[in-house]
Amino acid sequence: MTTDATPPEWAERILRAVLTPTDFATVSGDLLEEYRETVYPARGQHGADLWYIVQIVGFAMRSVAVWGVLLGLAVVARTAFDWFVPTADFSVRSAISTYVGLGLLLTTGFWSAWRSGSMRSGALSAVLAAAIGALISVTAAAGMLALFHDPQTMKAIAGSGGLSEVFTLPITLVVDGLILGAIGGALGAAANLRLRLNV
């Protein structure tokens, strides 16, 4: 049994944002075919929509995984330095970590928009990368805290902003991702347009 049912339009828009136009055409066709021929008849509308959304999340996460991991590692490295190599002057470390984070989010936005030709894709990809990065850094910080909670380390943590900063600051990266991803996305979409016009 087949159907002409359609998956959620918003999910398809996300897929369009994270893939190149050619890949979007073939991948969305594959997903739509599987949705209509196999999943919908077996699971019904809600089950099929859920399946479709899970597939889209998988594609979206895969498309930005490298940037998210790099961002997470950068935050973890800064946290580890503050905990295990304490300092009274954070200006150099702050400058380096700020520029690295800013650069990664801008690049994620640029790269994604350059591939897809869509500025929105830049913002979406940077938000997803920031979410992955935040998850990695919060998980790593919890792991480090479980292993190292001697008085010396706890003093270094308190001196570098405290535990609340360790666990909340990475989450604010998502907002940074939205803003910087949009800026990078605008530049990437413009570069894509220029390239197409030249060709």
Binding site: A25, T26, G29, D30, R36, Q55, F59
Partner: protein, 109 residues
């Protein structure tokens, strides 16, 4: 010697081999799911196909769309000689590891 293939890459290449002229994304996904006996994310198959093509083990071409796909094209894959060689090497490596042992294993634990 070609790059060592991961087990999922082997599953995808063998699916392409079995499907012949009908090896497009969704068909490969279904074949891999049947052979592995579990649900597989479409994104995982797509990423693997893309990687195998980058490695020069498979080639692809765009086909035409069908109404059930909303008219969107299929991307058909075919094995290249490098893919066949990589699969043969992967199989030979496993055979070498197992040589001299009976399958299924008995009484070794």
């Amino acid at each position: 010697m070609a790059d060592t293939l991961g087990s999922f890459e082997q599953a995808v290449l063998l699916a392409i081999l079995r499907l012949g002229d009908d090896a497009y994304g969704r068909a490969v996904l279904s074949e891999v799911q049947v052979r592995l006996g579990r649900a597989v994310a479409a994104g995982a198959v797509h990423a693997t196909l893309e990687r195998l093509e980058r490695k020069g083990l498979v080639a692809s071409r765009l086909g035409t769309g069908t109404p059930i796909r909303g008219g969107r094209p299929r991307r058909f894959y075919r094995m290249k000689s490098g893919g066949v060689r990589a699969l043969n090497e992967a199989r030979a490596a496993v055979d070498t590891l197992w040589r001299g042992l009976e399958f299924p294993l008995k009484g070794h634990v």
